[in-house]
Amino acid sequence: MRLPAAVPSIAAPAARFPRSLESCGATRPVRSGTVGMNHEHGRADGDVGGDVGSLLGDYELGLAYDEMIAADASARPHYLPLHRRLAQTSADDFRRRKAMTDLSMRQDGVGFTVYRAEEGIERVWPMDPVPRIIPAAEWRRIEAGLIQRINALNLFLWDIYHEQHILRDGIVPARLVLQGGYFRREFVGVNVPRRIYIHICGTDLIRAADGEYLVLEDNARTPSGVSYMLQNRQVLKRVFPALFSDYDVLPNDDYPAALLDVLQYIAPESATQPTAVLLSPGMYNSAYFEHSFLAQRMGIELVEGRDLLVDGNRVFMRTTRGRQRVDVIYRRIDDDFLDPLTFRPDSALGVPGLVNAYRAGTVALANSIGTGIADDKGVYPFVPDMIRYYLQQDPLLNNVETFRPEIPAQRSHVLANLDRLVVKRVNESGGYGMLVGPASTREQREEFRREIEANPRDFIAQPTIQLSTHPTFVDGRLEGRHVDLRPFILCGERVSVTPGGLTRVALPKGSLVVNSSQGGGSKDTWVLAEGRS
């Protein structure tokens, strides 16, 4: 266990991190030699106060790793052509392209809905037109690490729902799994199709100050974001095609087809022409755009719970010509709401009897039931151990350093450094019940101290890590903003990772909150073809 550095760098949890950490460390301006003098668009740029064309002038580097600009203020090699292109672009021109981006998103209805009282407030999906670029070699390592990780997680899930070797061998504490809120004891001994539990995974990666990619969390239930990844590419091609001419960017458009392959692969063997559907909570769900987008791109029906019924352990949908058999369900509803007969009885979103049909093997679900235990925060620190245990390999991607107060030595360290750490509750997700040390009040820290002392098993703690920054268009110029990366992994006949992923951006200066519902933006994410990077 490494001890924290003398000066803890700030802030880890990519998602939902309050924006109170702006002052960590000095910043210094970078004057970039290639930037600045192109005036071909000519118009004065009154309201931003910068020279026309100096999009990247006075770019400030912080303590964090910057994706484009190295510590010596030069552009990193794989960013050079983009850097040059941006230097030739005036702020006015760029502002126009940003406006085109927003208009495209709005007209395509790409967005999410925040419902307040009666009125639905539709927010347009925000994309920054400066792409994030990942060189081929770097991507190869990320890809291999992600594949290794999902393989280990699937082996882990099969194991804990069957013989539980890993618990008996003491690699992962049995209590942590068996008493975990997301462990579905109803599914012990159930054989899921092709032994795959997690078919679709969206893993959040962040970059530490030295540029190392770290896994912040595995989203193994119903991860979203992939439609925005695809839409970002479509829109950027429309509004800034010239950027693409400088690079060989790997396409990401195959994702829906690859997902359909996975769904058909796990169909019950009796189904020769399997019918797959996407089960959505409906149009009021914040990810509804994604549900309809994926259903359309795969050509499958988007259904809601009320469209399905279970009869004789088989699942049907209600159509204008009567019942039609359903073989595979890509469900975008959490376990808890899937079937009111098995889980939450008050769920109006689910389908009564669905779980029994699944258990009987007449219908396949993606993801399977009970995957939540694999991305539980209490289990997270053990994923590297799982990789060693099941695969006899060293992890290719490291976790963020994590302390478990359950262990006395680590507990005293956590309690002594509450003002520097992020403390998370296990069994919780969505950023609830967290203490962000550097942003916390004395009262909050005392409350957590009491709770940690009373129930040390219920918590983990991590040093706050500065996310990497990326030039982002703000107020007429490019400034560094913190970003994370969510690649999407599919597990069917083989494991595949779509090149790139969704890069989320925390738009307020210094903020580490990349959540779109809290003012986060996004970027198109490029993986370069071999030989160009």
């Binding site: 007209q107 395509d108 509804y288 359309q296 029906e301 988007l302 159509t319």
Partner: protein
Amino acid sequence: MLSRVADALFWMSRYLERADHLARAVDVTFHLDLDLHGVLANPVELEWNALLTLLRQPPPPVADGEHPVAAVQRWLLLDMANPGSVMSCVNRSRNNARSIRGSISPPMWRELNKLHWRLSDPSLRGRVAESPHDFCQETQLGVLLFHGVCESTLTHDEGWHFIQLGRHLERADKILRILDSKFSLLERGDGVDLPIRALQWGAVLKNCAAYEAYQRLYISRVEPERVVEFLLVNPDFPHSVRFCLTRIMQSLTAISGRLPERCDDEVVRTVGRLLNDLVYLDGTSLDGERLHAFLGDALARCARIGHHLHEQYALQ
């Protein structure tokens, strides 16, 4: 196809047709009002209230200092508190479309979405107080674009036919209502000059986008009996009741996958009988009272068609 999807397609289309008709009616009434202003004692009373009666709407609330006509226009076009306003209808249509986005083509969704945003534009809405014309034009144009895109980007399968059903059933219903309300109104206006009557009956035609088509066919002054005949039984004009019912019948047989004479369900029976009554209608026999009875009966039968459709296809 999912029953829920069929239902949403039907209503998406129906609400859009409703918005189209209302926008046209407001535009036509606005211009008729300008024409009759100096001629009739109280055109406001006559025309705008007739429109409200046709829509079965009470007079809207009038804000302080607001002209009653401006209040009616705002209420019919913009007001979300009025579930039948153009804005409400477009919104409902879009919500239906959104709930089944995967089942319509992306360009259809884009057109509907663009229409919604255009009609939400503050400057366009601000101009309604002076003249509703631009707003009404935008609405009608958006509806036409939507159907144009639908025609050439959506497979003409079951879903497309549910869209046609919604559109033509709503249109038939609106034509019948327009005829019914105007006929009783104009029957009473005995003392009115011939040119004025022509203007008013011309407005009826314009309400159904039929003015030029009528002229072209009859090459004569606008005569009430001919207007009625044209809008009820012309087989080729898209805004005649008979044309709409023919389309409805075609879509019903396409959906059921059977020949018309082999269809024995309630929907097809109801449509078929009404269609026959129209085909063999003796126009000369319909004086005021009998015409009123006929139109009322036809409206009730259209309502039954909608009802049977929902039962037959488990629409919600």
